[in-house]
Subunit: 128 residues, 2 copies
Amino acid sequence: MADNVRRSMPLFSMGIVQKLTGLTARQIRYYEENDLINPERSEGNRRVFSFNDVDRLLDIKSLLDEGVNLAGIRRVLSEKPVEANRPAEAKKAMSDAELMKFLKSELVQAGKFGKASLIQGELSRFFR
Amino acid sequence: MADNVRRSMPLFSMGIVQKLTGLTARQIRYYEENDLINPERSEGNRRVFSFNDVDRLLDIKSLLDEGVNLAGIRRVLSEKPVEANRPAEAKKAMSDAELMKFLKSELVQAGKFGKASLIQGELSRFFR
DNA sequence: ATAAGCTGTGAGATAAGCTAACATCGTTTG
DNA sequence: CAAACGATGTTAGCTTATCTCACAGCTTAT
């Protein structure tokens, strides 16, 4: 569950996510419009994506390549509902200090338990 | 060395880094001015920070808290020169597709070897 | 007391992101 | 077949985030 929080921490801007996923902004926004993802927003209404979000986007892309349409993808991804992307801890806006403190402790946890990479779950399912 | 590349991949915007480090934009820019960090730039000249960069910024912050001045910090951090932040692979601009492909393979590597988190090295050195 | 070091703040410019609307083009469906 | 739908591109107009540069202010070192 600490893992959930880590994976759903808002970190990436639209531009970066485009590079990481190879999708266009238009596509990403459209998928959000269709409830396939639900990225956080900055104070100024910019989307801020988590590892989970990037993960799902790669899932979506892969499924689209296989010819599955968005409705189908919604079904496939319904196992992992978008709500799972926003655990309570992530929702209640942390202060900057809290966020930082949290990140630190999370990192220590990761170190202690030899936890796997932040970006490992769904992301790695699809390649080689 | 694949690890180097991963850790020096430009990922974070100024706003995010401010939150992750608790530093102001002014401070971050000043540290860059003094060659303590050397973040990548976007096409439009915006700074794009890597895990390594965030790492160093947390180092810097920690040392400043201890009363070390920038000159001193420069010395302390000179073990890990800023050039180490930009390995050749990261320097030669990857195409978006290449970047994505690279990320994917990196993730798989991480998975295979049970590699530790992307954000683990220097970052975790300082807390608890 | 001056100088140097570090950070704040403000101005002016521009990049990057947002929404909304309309265009396009292939695939369903009546 | 024509109309509707699904997915994406493109454009316009607007707002936020970031950039550089300059100057101000406070602290510490000379």
